[in-house]
């Protein structure tokens, strides 16, 4: 953000606009805290439906920016419904798990929970904005805390590992390695652990088939469904190619900017790379690089520590809730914040491919600021009533 202004409150500049959003959010906070907790629980279904409709409506009324139909344009300002839909989904999920009839070790309940999460996620993926949709998958982790059997998590973790390996080494090598490992494993337990091969052989075949299909589909989707630019982003992070002028430009510039901050940084508004606009999207997705340049290692670590403390505190508060609804909602809030924090900063420091999602409360943008504010303060209100069991 540039420093030459005529007055300190220049509302036509980016930071001026953000100040307006922040100012209005105080009003929002007051409203949210004043409303009774039960209201949020009772109307969670309604909020969810509104969220889904607002996402679906984009395909009819929405405007397209940078290739994705993610925005509604009203005269001077725009709204991004995917930022607000998180609130509706978290409320609906909390409400569902709160019901005495829902039991996450039971398949039917698991299915319903998945659907609540996947419906808005699918609509967002269709925009297309797969980055923003990723959060919703992360909510599945909450389910683990609430009783989802552990093997789901293990499977997802293994799938991610397999995914990365397939991208890195390609279809054939992955198949060979995995089948090799599996065969050794089964050979071992059949010979030494008395695995009942004769009875269970068909399960082994199924396992090989499923794994094979998975590796194949990853490879297929990557090479035939993803655009070249998506492929390039992965290739860069995995270290397979190094193009600092084209697709890897953002990441490379961001790392240089952060690196140039050194131990103590260059000082507030004195970052010459930020002033020179070297990092694309530096006021939205890449805002953390400005922190790195201006405040150095000490400053950016401090920000990390503050975020971590914030997240830990959120979880701690969730645990002390008496009502399941409040607890699950709190976990969802923590998960959403954690995910944004992890992916955004991971991207900015070059550990993850470019995935365009904002850093909570730092990134420029009214919709994301308000979305996070609403999420946080609904939970604060719920926490205020934590001693009531209802």
């Amino acid at each position: 953000m540039s420093e030459t202004h005529h007055e300190i409150l220049d509302f036509s500049s980016l930071y001026g606009k953000q100040l307006q959003w922040i100012g209005l959010s105080f009003l929002l906070i007051i409203i949210i805290i004043s409303i009774d907790s039960k209201f949020y629980e009772r109307l969670s279904g309604v909020f969810y439906i509104i969220s889904v409709l607002s996402l679906a409506g984009l395909f009819i009324f929405g405007a397209s920016i940078n290739g994705a139909t993610s925005w509604y344009n009203f005269g001077g300002f725009s709204i991004q419904p995917s930022e607000f839909a998180k609130v509706g989904t978290a409320l609906a999920l909390a409400n569902f798990i709160n019901e005495p009839s829902s039991d996450l070790s039971n398949f039917k309940s698991q299915l319903k929970a998945f659907l609540i999460i996947l419906l808005p996620a699918a609509l967002i993926v269709l925009q297309p904005d797969p980055g923003s949709a990723l959060i919703y998958f992360f909510l599945l982790v909450i389910l683990y805390r609430e009783g989802l059997p552990a093997y789901y998590l293990v499977i997802v973790f293994l799938a991610v590992v397999l995914f990365i390996m397939t991208l890195y080494t390609g279809f054939i090598t992955s198949i060979l390695i995995i089948y090799g490992i599996l065969t050794l494993f089964f050979a071992y337990i059949i010979n030494y652990k008395k695995f009942p091969f004769k009875r269970e052989w068909y399960k082994i075949i199924i396992l090989y088939t499923v794994v094979g299909l998975f590796i194949f589909s990853v490879d297929y989707v990557f090479n035939h469904v993803f655009d070249q630019r998506h492929r390039n982003r992965f290739s860069i992070v995995l270290g397979k190619t190094s193009d600092t002028k084209g697709i890897g430009y953002n990441t490379h510039q961001s790392m240089i900017t952060i690196g140039s901050g050194g131990l103590t940084g260059k000082g507030f508004l004195e970052g010459d790379r930020t002033q020179g606009n070297f990092v694309p999207e530096q006021h939205t997705d890449y805002i953390f690089s400005t922190v790195g340049e201006e405040w150095g290692f000490l400053g950016s670590s401090a920000v990390i520590i503050i975020f971590v403390a914030f997240l830990l505190r959120l979880i701690q508060i969730s645990e002390r809730q008496k009502s399941t609804f409040s607890r699950v909602f709190g976990y969802s809030v923590a998960a959403i914040f954690f995910f944004h924090f992890m992916i955004n900063i991971g991207m900015v420091i070059g550990l993850l491919p470019t995935i365009g999602i904002p850093l909570p409360f730092f990134s420029y943008g009214g919709s994301s600021l308000w979305g996070f504010t609403i999420l946080l303060f609904i939970f604060i209100r719920l926490d205020a009533d934590r001693t009531y069991v209802w």
Partner: protein
């Protein structure tokens, strides 16, 4: 481990991981440190290579360069200076200086921006000696274009400053740099521009330049721009522009055997030198606001209109291919064609009552009745009008009509070729058939073409059934091009043997038909006259004005070397203006000059300005009447 502890653990883990990574990036590694960008005691200077020259097919120089000097400013580095002296050297007022300084400061205090663009050569000479006095300012040399021949402005295009929107999308360009905005300059920007060189210069703490940064290891050399050789024949182009003086319209000439564009004339046109230098903005605005003449619109590429009679030959070819007619099929013309039962359902024709026309006569007399019959037969060959229409549409589209041709110039229009879908949408209750769409038979109705599409169509007939995508580029840096799109033969859906009777008919247009008075001794020219109806919409009502004059031709009949389409607004009959001009162009190209000087003089001096004024006045009067 309890489930909730996993949550705490993961968060802490990620936090620690990030802090380690930050430590690595910011404290340990030097990989991201010693970049010239990081060091603000380094100045970046760009070295712009010469922009490529542009030649015509005979190596006549069309576009060259002349040097131009911009005064650049880095506001942060500006020290107090003698503004009076500076302003008088630059020939600007003190207020102007303050305005420009503020503008640069608002853009950025650190990044260089243009303070004053394109100094005159004299100012540059004086200023260059004194620049050391003015800290924070320096002179950037650039190339402007120079046009030794005042012709082909529509084809060559022009260059200008790149705008900020574009810079955001393409990081190569910096503020103040020049980029091709229209024509060949735009289409082949990358080739012409080369790659600018970058020099990093170290400065000491007094901001004085002391030498290359780090011994120049980050410096890059400029890559020269590439020269282009176009397929254009400049002499032919200039001749066309002279013939079209005081008339509005377009001429497109193509070499059928290769698809190379020999001439692309659009009038009214302008002197390309107007779009150079400081006067460019002013001149551009004047040209842009001229809504009557529209000199910036390339009519050869952008004018969409119904083709008229030349389109009849397409219908003839389709008729032969679909075997609904043969060369000897005869239709009788009674002054017109009745296509329906109403009193007005009659398409007039100029033939004498009771004329018998076979294919050959139908073409050279341009008999509407003949082709109305052919068209009706094509559509009605199939069980439903929709199938007939779609079949017809498919044939027409194989001639490159109804879509972009894919040539290498940045503007164009698709034209329109109707099909069953089109009519179904227009007549939602159905019920349309061949007689409803009968105007398509004679090239009126819903069909729209551009002159270049018409020229390409003519080239197809000259080749007896195929074409190469029209293109303007012949060589890059003297190497012939190897672009697949331009060297692949494209075939129509009509078999080659059906073209011969058509070629013969077009030859007879000159021997005995509608273009008899445009015949040239010693040259075997094949052509077709045409008239395109000229409608304008005034307050929702359709008003008809003088027809446009259209002519297509190719020569010689066997082994054709040139295919041409001429389109003249308000020119009335094809044989009145477009025909003679087309034949004069052909003579000029094939023989180097004309054998009919009197005709040539008449065309060069002829003017349709009266017609245009009449149309303008009529339009204005009608518009006022409605108010």
């Amino acid at each position: 481990m309890e489930r909730k502890h996993i949550a705490y653990a993961s968060i802490l883990l990620i936090g620690i991981l990030f802090i380690f990574r930050l430590f690595y990036l910011q404290v340990i590694t030097t990989k991201y440190k010693p970049s010239p960008f990081h060091n603000s005691a380094v100045t970046i200077k760009y070295d712009y290579p010469e922009r490529g020259f542009i030649y015509d097919r005979n190596n006549t120089l069309l576009v060259a360069n002349q040097p131009s000097y911009d005064v650049m400013i880095i506001p942060r580095d500006v020290k107090p200076l003698d503004t009076l002296e500076f302003c008088s050297l630059l020939k600007i007022s003190k207020d102007d200086f303050i305005k420009r300084y503020q503008k640069a400061k608002n853009y950025s205090p650190r990044i260089p921006s243009v303070f004053l663009a394109q100094l005159s050569k004299n100012s540059y000479a004086y200023l260059q000696e004194k620049m050391y006095k003015y800290k924070g300012f320096y002179i950037q040399k650039r190339s402007l274009r120079e046009y030794p021949i005042k012709s082909a402005a529509n084809v060559l295009g022009y260059i200008g400053e790149v705008n900020n929107e574009f810079i955001k999308k393409n990081r190569y360009y910096k503020q103040g740099e020049l980029i091709g905005i229209q024509g060949v300059e735009k289409e082949y920007e990358k080739e012409l521009r080369g790659i600018k060189g970058v020099k990093y210069i170290q400065r000491n703490r007094f901001n004085k330049e002391i030498g290359p940064y780090k011994g120049g290891i980050y410096d890059t050399l400029a890559t020269l721009g590439k020269d282009l050789t176009l397929t254009l024949d400049s002499k032919l182009e200039q001749y066309g522009e002279a013939l079209m003086a005081h008339k509005r319209g377009g001429i497109v000439a193509i070499e059928p055997a290769t698809g190379e564009i020999l001439a692309l004339v659009s009038t009214p046109t302008y002197d390309p030198n107007l779009m150079v230098g400081r006067e460019r903005s002013k001149n551009f605005t004047k040209l842009y606001n001229d809504e009557v003449n529209m000199p910036l619109v390339d009519r050869g590429l952008l004018s969409q209109y119904p083709p008229g009679s030349p389109f009849k030959i397409i219908n003839a070819l389709i008729g032969l291919q679909e075997r609904v007619i043969f060369p000897e099929t005869t239709f009788y013309c009674y002054g017109g064609f009745r296509y329906g039962r109403g009193k007005n359902a009659f398409m007039k024709c100029h033939c004498h009552y009771g004329t018998a026309n076979n294919l050959n006569r139908g073409i050279y007399e341009s008999c509407n009745t003949y082709f109305a019959n052919v068209y009706k037969r094509i559509i009605e060959k199939y069980p439903t009008p929709s199938e007939g229409m779609d079949t017809w549409s498919k044939h027409v589209k194989s001639f490159g009509l109804g879509n972009f041709l894919g040539y290498d110039l940045p503007t164009g229009k698709k034209g329109l070729v109707p099909d069953a879908d089109f009519y179904n949408r227009y007549y939602p209750n159905g019920g349309w058939r061949a007689s409803t769409t009968i105007s398509n038979a004679i090239g009126q109705g819903e069909i729209l073409v551009t002159p270049i599409q018409l020229a390409n169509m003519t080239a197809i007939v000259a080749n007896r059934g195929f074409y190469y995508t029209p293109h303007i580029i012949k060589k890059i840096n003297n190497e012939p091009i190897h672009i697949e799109a331009f060297t692949t033969k494209k075939h129509t859906t009509i078999k080659p043997e059906y073209f011969e009777p058509i070629v013969q008919g077009m030859f007879d247009v000159f021997e005995k038909g509608t273009a008899v008075y445009s015949r040239v001794k010693g040259l075997e020219i094949c052509g077709k006259t045409g008239t395109a109806e000229n409608f304008a919409s005034v307050n929702g009502k359709r008003v008809q004005f003088t027809d446009h004059s259209v002519f297509i031709a190719f020569a010689p009949k066997d082994n054709p070397k040139i295919a041409i389409a001429v389109y003249i607004e308000n020119g009335y009959w094809g044989s009145r203006w477009a025909g003679p001009i087309a034949t004069l162009m052909i003579e000029n190209y094939l023989n180097g000059g004309t054998s009919r000087p009197a005709l040539e003089k008449r065309m060069l001096e002829g003017s349709l300005q009266d017609e245009y004024d009449k149309q303008l006045l009529t339009l204005q009067a009608l518009a006022e009447k409605e108010d």
